[in-house]
Amino acid sequence: MTAPVLTRRRALVAVASAPLLLVAAPVLAADISADAAVVTELLRAELLLQKSYEACSSGPRRVSRIARRFWAHEVQHTAALAQALEALGAPGVPPPRDLPVLSRHSPRGRLRYLLALEETTLATMHAALGELSDDKLLQTTATILGCQAQHLVVLREALGRQPLPAALDAGRR
């Protein structure tokens, strides 16, 4: 392989573009940092969901059947988000500690808890899609948001609620 020849024209272009690079670098760093903060929030929400579905995967069959299926989805979501966070050079997110004692809840109570958690997660993802700057992160988040929205359909139906309550589902905080 031969080294590129430094011509007068290349040198002038390099000199002319240097100030632009100096301006652009902090902006890019700020974008990455902002994205990392958003992904950290998303991962925290997804880890809580994963842990909650895991906790509900045993017990009443009415809940555990759904929880086992959705837990498998959450494992994939958290893996994708953890990988994205690592790529951004941000620290990892510890698993959640403060989980309600779900065994004390009735099957319906567990479903209500999971529904509320999914709605909160959907709201977090919805907001994130207005904040993220990286194209790939935007798309990954959208594909996860779609899955959470589908989880909501199943949980709403299990609770006897309208599965399609809104034309623009932005979740609920």
């Binding site: 299926r69 994939q76 979501h77 959907l122 948001l145 929205a149 623009l168 979740g171």
Partner: protein, 169 residues
Amino acid sequence: MVNRRTLLAAAAATGFAGCGAGKAPGSRTPAPPAATATPPAATATATATPAAGADAELLLPLIELKARAVAIYGGRPGLERLRAHERVHLARLLDAAPGRPFHYRVNTPPIELELEQLAAQLAVLPRLADPRLRTLIAGMYATDSEHLAVLRRGAGREAVPRAFVTGGT
């Protein structure tokens, strides 16, 4: 030519979508496979700030798909709620990109239609500069994913078969 008001009103007309391709909304006579519509800005009820030029262009494929969804669901009993949602989506998109001509066809089965919409939204999302438009599309993406789950279940299929909803399958 169909304007925004007549297009949305046409969604109330049932029967035409079930006839498949070759029918334009609001028309009972055979028409070419594609209908062209120019929604005038003057008739739009402004609920969203119109998008800048590049963003507005990106919304056109989504508008076409939403117009198709409104028409298709208009002809299918049991899908009234889905049609109502699609009408809201279409109205919001037309508010964001007024005065743009578009065309659409009425010949896609509902599950494929939702998949096509999701794929189109996913492709457009990272290209939109306006974060408000991205959150608008995010709301549609969530609702259309829900539509897909309901339609799949109605067809005796698994409602949530995958961890990532891409619209591809």
